[in-house]
Amino acid sequence: MDTSFKTVEKYAYSSGRGLSKKLIEEISRMKKEPEWMLKFRLRSYEIFLSKPMPAWGPDLSKLNFDDIIYYIKPDEYKASNWNDVPTEIKDTFEKLGIPEIERKYLAGSIAQYESEGVYAKLKKEWEDKGIIFMDMDSALQQYPDIIKEYFMKCVPNTDNKFSALHGAVWSGGSFAYIPAGVKMDMPLQTYFRMNANNEGQFEHTLIIAEPDSSVHYIEGCTAPVYTTNSLHSAVVEIYVKENAKARYTTVQNWSNNVYNLNTKRAWVERNGKMEWVGGSLGSYITMLYPSSVLRGEYATASHLNIAFGKGNTWKDGGAKVIHNAPYTSSKVIAKSISMGGGTSVYRGLIRINKGAYMAKSHVQCDALIMDEKSRSDTYPHNEIYEPTATLSHEASVGKISEEQIYYLTSRGLREEEAKSMIVLGFLDDVMREIPFEFSIELNRLIKLEMSKMGAVG
């Protein structure tokens, strides 16, 4: 099965391959950025060069930084040819029942697709409430002071090699600002954002939930996203102020040539509530450990994640929670499925610092291994410096058993139906938390994967 992708280069402006100081200056100049941003980019570039590749996770030795195109000028972005999209991706779209126009968007053969009527109405509602929702580049032009105050404070460019790279070459992404006391009843979706440049290679997402506000931000999609970019390194920063609530839901299904190396973090103040919900379906290598820093009393974080390691892919994911204040609590539920030779790894850190009186954390990671070729590893790391804190950890590794398949098929279910039923059952407690439209698509996608497996063996 060949699912490799042809490189299609039909952009009006492309930086060419490789990264240099000159290129970074060029990006900043083209974007007409303020001086401080240029300086920040250049400093980030130096940090990037000085940091070694992380050696504790999946093998990144084949990732060649000189072979990456770092910047494609968005407004001159030209569609790649639909005919160049691999048949398998087209077939998947077909089977998922995705409308033609969406397929082309997802495959990158049209730059964006919008639902303007709905959007116009929403935009008016948001403006009336003082909500800001726009792309990051525009936000930097229109709200430079807010951006300067928050940009890469939660995830500093010194955090890791890829956050440094991101600081140097970031482009696009979303900015969402929810004023104090505003509770949004409808999720914010990048889907509805005008002028969204969704080629999203190094996109930056900044969400500010002011005191007593609430927001649900959704991005990504379950359908496979065709991209010729082999490196995706986004940063997401979420500021959850006192009594505010933020939920961030994301599902990614990048094509299997992509290194997906992201840094996502939230700062949660007193009595604030942060919820991460993630589904990681595609890409070649994924490293993603959404983090919550609980900075005020009674702050809470919940992390729910589903990862599929299938075929020649490596899913390295987990969660990081730092308890820095009394009475803070956190819950992590991570589920992984490994199949067709894939690897899924849970890597997590819970740190309860001294002074986080009575802090509580619960971690549950469950792995399901579908066949002999696939593997799953769990590396939980706990650091507890506060004697009154409590932490519980549960882990399970299961194999899909012949006995279960026998039982289900004895009632008339076909083997692949039985397998998808077992998998969906395994995911059930997380699926309940996933927005309805995502869970339906995930359902279909899992069934599709199972039927493919059935065809092979």
Binding site: Y406, L408, S410, E417, I422, L424, G425, F426
Partner: protein, 250 residues
Amino acid sequence: MDDNDLKFAVNNLKVCIDNHTILNGIDLMVNKGELHIIMGPNGSGKSTLANSIMGDSRYRIEDGTIRIDDVELNNISVDERARKGIFLAFQYPVEIPGVSLSKFIWSAQSSLGKNTTLKEFQVMLENGMKMVALDSSFSKRSLNEGLSGGEKKRSEMLQAYMLKPRLIILDEIDSGLDVDALRQVSDMINHLLKNNSAVILITHYQRIIENLTPPYRVHILVNGKIVQSGGYELVKKIEADGYESFKEVN
């Protein structure tokens, strides 16, 4: 011919597992609405017979045939056998976390091509749960997960009721049941028989048999062979003398 018409036949069936021969030439004929009771000592091959009919891949058929309506089942998949109307109530039903009993039965019904409306389904499910005395909350719970032995058996009977198979094999459905549960399970078996399902009941005990509506035929299975078939008198004989006398016959 109505939906329940059945012509089920096992002929000279020889089955082995890991190169040990367990069944040594079984013959059994079952028609619409009949009750066949199979008794035998531990290790005589009762569960092997049940699972061979259902198509468990651990067992290998060395010789003989299993047929339904003159179609040979030997090389037919488990789910296809279910679609031909065979149902096995398992001795130890396996747990499937996160899959609710009602959702499972709903999916199974549609796989079997028995399409009902959601409303009809719910009414039927409620009736069935009352008959086997399972609280309605069980329909939302995960399949067999955390259920007691008795609850699992009730759930198996409920599934038989919902899926309306032509041939129901009950593998020690009575083991581990208290008096009330035994009564409810027996009542359900009688109900299914009355509705023209055929039943092969595998048991060790006289108790359940006394609750079942005659007529029925009793088969004594010893060392992988049916050594004697007859009526209730065989049950009495086992009760009095055990299986020893049958072994001598063999």
